[in-house]
Symmetry: D2
Subunit: 381 residues, 4 copies
């Protein structure tokens, strides 16, 4: 696929994800952490406008002078931001205006792409990857917001994932391994540089933990015994009176969960999702096992199937040796988040096609659950 | 106007107020205290359905079983409520569905009204007044929500009010006066019963305080000197770093304010609005004057023009002698709010026609400013 | 008793109240609303130093330049304040140093009092009354702080109050009555001026509500039914999961309460205490009755015994006609609190001797319970 | 030194640290994170009583049945806890009673130690190390609490630390190194097991950053430019309006800091202290350098002087390979805190003698500053 085709395909996919939304859905923002679909559609467009068209196309006229203010995210160096928790209040510009903005920017982008300027092509690839990241967030943010509606809206068919493999332990021998991205395709700065890591003998499960296994943990009183939990995890359980993964609810003794396809009885054989790091760790402790490190995961990943659940690791999100921050606004991308977050490896049912690889490092604060986060167990030998 | 005509006129007016809204605007809720336009349209409809159609029309079929849950407000006795601060998250039902709900209920209501049953007619009048109250809130809530948008949306032309009268002092002699509603038309329970109040000699200003006069208070450092303020008012000023009425902003030394007609330079001759009780009291103290009591206001109200600004009084919202709470859900209407609120008298530019009278008691917590609240001064003699 | 004797008697009484405290108790501050005993001892001393000695005695040398900063309370006009919620952190000056400060100021005060200067005598009387107010707070603040200690400390014997009178209804006829303090003794500015109030026919109970009667309200589900409660009261009950008055706890089906004399089984015949305005109002509503207004109370007070419980009225704390704020720092005394508070009439078991009269207006926010607040019922006729 | 002598020496040292306190100081708790001196004295005693005497000495009678409740800390498995932020409210038991409690337990402990039972000796060593940890906290908690007092109390002489070495870069070659404690003396479970880590070429500074160097960072606008900060660090700076390390204050253009010996002008040649991880990282970024990892620090530690400042590393606090949690209450010790905290290496001026070693892993949340935390810089080669 040419860069032009990739660009068009990814841009179309964002709109495709919204096919079943009504206008009112585009503004939903149920918490500060999530953003409305309209904002995702606009922000990804602004990224192309601000970082590619404005600096590189002297004939380009910005669509609206205030869009920079409205659709900026965390790029402090580019100026004041709209309060993050008020994105849902931006009824104007309308959904239609945002779609026109997309079309306007796309047209200018396509003209620019056709000039085949290498430095720009690299930026376009970054913009495409940026939009793919937001496609996943669009789906998961929307799920979180719609869940607040007692009518259980149906907007998308994201099927559950059932492992086809039998669960078994695969082992890796101790030694020095190479970690990090090596190749000529796109990767983020946080996957660089390739470096050596010493890893001890370990085994890792070929299968993800299922809803059924997780329900046993609940049934066994897992949420009532502090001994399985981090101190902070236990405070989180007590303060919010947590009893199950996000989206689960009990009705007459049976567990149901909200999906983008409506409320469903849980599928015991499907992989559990929407657990946070505290829950993943507590489940592992209950089993007498542990989560893998991100290095163990990367070394073993070709020994099992992955790609439907982001998998919590017991590695904090920290820079690789020799990591440096790129100059300018784009340089803010990753390094500034390297504290208090845990690494997730893999990808999920909401990840856009082509947006996963073995070295990809996703990261979230330990308390968050609204991504399709799952659990894979490991043990030291 | 017949009851049927009144009903239709009021119902149409709610939709008329929304003529210039785009679909996205109907869901805006910028704080817990305000509700989205869609919710106002649905809640007022639900009131007719729940309190009139369901108990009185055996053939009536409720439009949707969950609307009772979604569009209930503070009527605890009718069951669980949707969290008040999440009304903006209810993207479904859509605006169109809510409009169909209105039409469906209106049709059933009109059939019922035509039966001329006195007990029902009384309830219809209550429902009409209830909807008129929500019409005012729809306007003021919307103003508050749209103000958060840096694009300063234009949706309605509510003109500023300039007093035509000269400002002068009108005096009332001490004595026992009658307070409260007496007559055969509609009034709320909190206006009853007529009772005697002893009032001392006082004077009251024939004119409301203007933006120009209020700007002088700002200029003189009124927001920087605790001696004019209630202790709570001063805490409010310091904590929120308040420097002017709601919606005012300074640009290069000049004051502007957001109106439903966009951002405007302030009109110095127009009556000030969007001040809270603390500000109204501090302004009065700075002038060496005071706010009138609600009884003084009611006794003097035929001596001056009023109706464009709700006017803060120095009376707490408390029951009149012999006040009793009506049985059932409608009985929750007023008594339960009789603590920590101050009475406002008059009406405002956002008040629906026919929804004001000299005995009407509006009430808000002292910190709120989003209604068209103004200041009229008084003094003891 | 001469002014000199009064001064000495009141000053000694503050120390007497602390007879059974250990040094550690003097610093306790369990919430922002309460102050430590040491602070009360120092602040009342500072009042004499700052408002009487410094302006009137040219030879007086302030004890310590920073005490003005440390022991000031809400007198904004005198300069910066120590954060109110950090009074418990002031381990220095020590209790012994504060006692020396008291002795030092007392000596200077006695020299000044002996000069018999009328203007100063008036200020001394204000200072004495100020200290008596703080004596009551010292007791009730200490009770609140000590209650947090699972060891249930015993520090003072404040006996329970049992009414000796039978409970019956006493009635008052409608008419214009005079309200407010008239005489030559001390009163606060908020009791002035004498003015006329029109009162309707009413009856008032000669007895206070007892613990036994209040326990019936609890037993009958009073804390579970919103229909008895103000909207704000109900939110308070739900948010804090309130089930009984402050200091009550259930053990195996029986009610106990913490007293300054340790944990005791409740005395069913004693008057209930430590209920807030919401609870007092809800209890009255459950009985089909109401609280009296402060005017009704003042007019009827000679018809019943009072003085052991501050009695909630249904009157908001507002200025009497013609109320004016005195110039200077002392002028901040009362007017600045005239919003969002309810009037209590009477006095309590913690009130110092000589510090009560029929026109005394105490006031607290509706949610507070840590004073000895009780309930007297009334009804319209 | 015999175990008996060590025990007595450490127990005495806790009291020695309090030599200059007045009774009122023992109860100070200025935030939830710090504990009062009295609590530290009692909690360390309770540890010996609860974990050694109660299970091992059948004749031992607990001093007071409620002390278990009052002086427990985070050991959830032992039962309910007093709310952590209310330790300052426990005026009873008094300081004197706590000292008697210490003497009572010490006597019983000495009898038990003299029996020379190996399993108990191991527990005694744990208890001694536990008390030494609390000695450091006693000092740093007290400093934090006393700092709130405008009188700048003087209670202890902890001198500033000036490096004697010249600052230069020392380098370490890449390779596999062994990390973790190996030996027969005491260490915590989090220092185990010895394991291999691959480390890249790096250099590390032989000297700590000084107050003078840090003042240059402030002067250069370091607290005003987001580009040096983690995203969370920048939020922390903005929300709390941070402008300098904890305890620093500017007076007429000069910097002073509060020390346990009173307020002092900063010593520019002394090592900076009381900076958090965000500040340490931002300073390093401003210098174009970075913090070392805990593994780099451990490998290089014999090449420089350390022991006066806890040194922030860029390593998250995570388990070493093969880490397992011990059974029972003591097992809660370390593993439960292994999330959202960063490792500090070294020791500080407040660390008790004999309580430091090259493999010791201290850990705090990134925002905390009240320990003597300093900065050592590193760079990749």
């Amino acid at each position: 696929m040419s860069l032009e085709e990739s660009f068009q395909s990814v841009r179309n996919h964002s709109l495709y994800l919204c096919s079943h939304l009504i206008t009112e859905d585009y503004s939903l923002q149920a918490s500060e952490e999530v953003s409305p679909p309209k904002w995702h559609l606009a922000h990804t467009t602004w990224f192309f406008e601000q970082f590619i068209l404005v600096p590189n196309d002297p004939e380009y006229v910005v669509k609206h002078p205030q869009f920079n203010f409205l659709f900026n995210s965390y790029y402090n160096s580019l100026g004041a931001r709209t309060a993050r928790n008020q994105r849902g209040l931006m009824s104007r510009p309308s959904v239609d205006e945002v779609k026109l903005y997309r079309a306007y920017v796309d047209e200018a982008m396509l003209r620019l792409i056709q000039k085949n300027i290498p430095a720009i092509q690299e930026l376009v690839i970054l913009g495409i990857n940026h939009e793919q990241q937001h496609q996943e967030l669009l789906i998961t943010d929307l799920k979180f917001s719609l869940w607040h509606n007692p009518l259980n809206p149906v907007v998308m068919d994201i099927s559950e994932y059932r492992a086809e493999q039998e669960s078994n332990w695969v082992s890796v021998e101790a030694g020095v391994y190479e970690i990090g991205y090596e190749g000529n395709d796109f990767c983020y700065d946080n996957e660089l540089n390739v470096h050596k890591v010493y890893i001890n003998d370990f085994s890792i499960s070929s299968a993800l933990v299922t809803n059924g296994e997780y329900a046993e943990f609940i049934q066994a009183g897992g949420y009532e015994d502090p001994k399985y939990w981090h101190d902070e995890g236990w405070s989180w359980v007590k303060e919010l009176e947590v009893k199950a993964p996000l989206y689960w609810e009990e009705q007459n003794g049976d567990w149901y969960y909200y999906t983008l396809n409506g409320l469903k009885a849980i599928d015991k054989n499907a992989s559990v999702a929407h657990v946070n790091f505290y829950e993943a760790s507590a489940f592992a402790a209950w089993k007498g096992l542990r989560l893998p490190t991100e290095f163990e995961w990367e070394v073993a990943q070709n020994l099992f199937e992955w790609g439907k659940r982001w998998e919590w690791t017991n590695s904090a999100y920290l820079p690789y040796p020799g990591f440096t921050v790129a100059a300018g606004a784009i340089g803010e991308y990753n390094g500034k988040f390297m504290v208090n977050q845990m690494v997730l490896r893999g990808a999920s049912v909401a990840t856009s096609e082509g947006h996963s690889r073995p070295t990809y490092r996703n990261f979230f604060h330990p308390q968050y659950r609204w991504q399709f986060m799952g659990i894979r167990l490991a043990k030291s030998l």
